[in-house]
Amino acid sequence: MARASRTAVHSEDEPSRLRASDVREATRVENPADVPSFDAIYDQHVDFVYRSVRRLGVAEEAAEDVTQEVFITVHRKLDTFEGRSSLKTWIFGVAHGVVRNHRRSAKRARERDGGSTEDMEIADPITGNDPLRQAERSEAVQILHAVLDAMDEDKREVFLLADLEKVPPAEIASFKGMKLFTVYSRLRAARAQFKKLASRYRTTHGWRMS
């Protein structure tokens, strides 16, 4: 696979965005062979994939495995990437598919195991020295994911890309093959649903962090 030429305009203070824009730029070329190397794609998108996988409802203890599956699939399907959407949204599409499969097999496994919950909460080794800051973050992650979990799938997808990952609506439109107007109206509906669910959570759980 040929490494794409890096022609994007860089902003000084945002190295990670800079790389993402590089790839976006690179994927707009006509020749699909001009996508970056798998290594580069992996390094650039692994955090995004991991986050997305969890936001799409995969439990933390399974997120590593699912993330790996996503990249194995990306590797296998990379030749079929035609540059019609950005590489980022294409990878998101792959991730979404892998997550759906995972959900199905996870559900089967749960049914088979009689729904044991012994292992459902998983240890996330404390990395910092401040358990409270960690708690605050875990709390926010838990709430965010709970709310995302309760959203309709089509709304969640647009919300996740537009509001959590700052993917431009036009890019979402080409990724989903939707009209821009439809993306906007779905995003509006998604935000309304997010607000409703978050507010309900806040009211009943005393979430007042600000």
């Binding site: 919950t117 973050r137 669910l197």
Partner: protein, 253 residues
């Protein structure tokens, strides 16, 4: 329609905790690169690895939403049995597991007015069901059950502010870090009094273990650690609590 500052805040704070850890990054990269590198030449190896990975993950796979249900059920059960009955349908198995923990919990925490919230719990459930029908028809059944039950799971007479709790516990942690474990312990008692079933109860219990260690009250620390580990064996804090002022097996007195 834009998101409110609170909502943006929630997203921003969550964002800090959403990326994989360095260790996870390392593991994933090594695995993926091995698998795509070896995969081309030896498909069989890859298939085996994949199957193994799937088997190991599926055994412990449960969604965040389901985890939340467990938390919700714990909270709810503290308030009263009515809630448990009302919300048991989406995920019946957790209840059996949760029940003993609740008993432990009531020993650990001196709760001022435990049964007072029982009627509320039922009310909240009914309200939530009436006002939010779409929550129950969300696709992806197992994970959707969490949030549907989640918001109904706070049968507290006044919702405790997580900000207040954090402030108190931070203060305690600072005293402890500053070499004043006794002061830390007294702040933790304050927290226990003001937020007996607070959302950061586990964090309080953990900090208390560290503070007791710091105060040289090793036996009490180990007892507290045992209670914590019995109640929250899978808590992110469990490894540290298990190591606190004792050898790896805090079970031995």
């Amino acid at each position: 329609m834009d998101l409110s500052p609170d909502e943006l805040d929630l997203i921003a704070i969550a964002r800090e905790g959403e990326d994989p850890s360095q260790a996870a990054r390392k593991r994933m990269r090594a695995n993926v690169m091995t698998r795509v590198g070896v995969g081309a030449a030896a498909g069989a190896t890859v298939a085996t690895t994949t199957a193994a990975a799937q088997a190991s993950s599926s055994a412990v796979v449960l969604s965040i939403g389901t985890k939340l249900t467990l938390g919700a059920v714990v909270l709810g059960a503290l308030g009263g049995g009515g809630y448990v009955a009302a919300t048991s349908s989406p995920a019946p198995p957790p209840l059996a597991v949760v029940a003993p923990r609740i008993l432990d919990l009531t020993h650990e925490v001196d709760m001022p007015q435990p049964p007072a919230t029982e009627p509320k719990a039922t009310e909240v459930v009914q309200q939530a069901e009436a006002s939010e029908p779409e929550a129950s028809v969300v696709p992806a059944a197992p994970s959707a059950s969490g949030p549907a039950a989640g918001p109904a799971a706070a049968p507290k007479s006044k919702p405790s502010s997580i900000k207040d709790e954090l402030a108190l516990l931070r203060e305690a942690q600072q005293r402890l870090n500053g070499g004043n474990p006794d002061e830390a312990l007294s702040m933790l008692e304050d927290h226990q009094r003001s937020h007996p079933d607070g959302r950061l109860k586990q964090e309080r219990m953990a900090v208390r273990v560290f503070a007791l260690c710091g105060a040289g009250r090793r036996a009490e620390a180990r007892a507290a650690a045992r209670r914590f580990l019995a109640e929250a064996p899978n808590s992110p804090l469990a490894p540290r609590v298990a190591r606190a002022c004792t050898e790896p097996t805090p079970e031995s007195p």
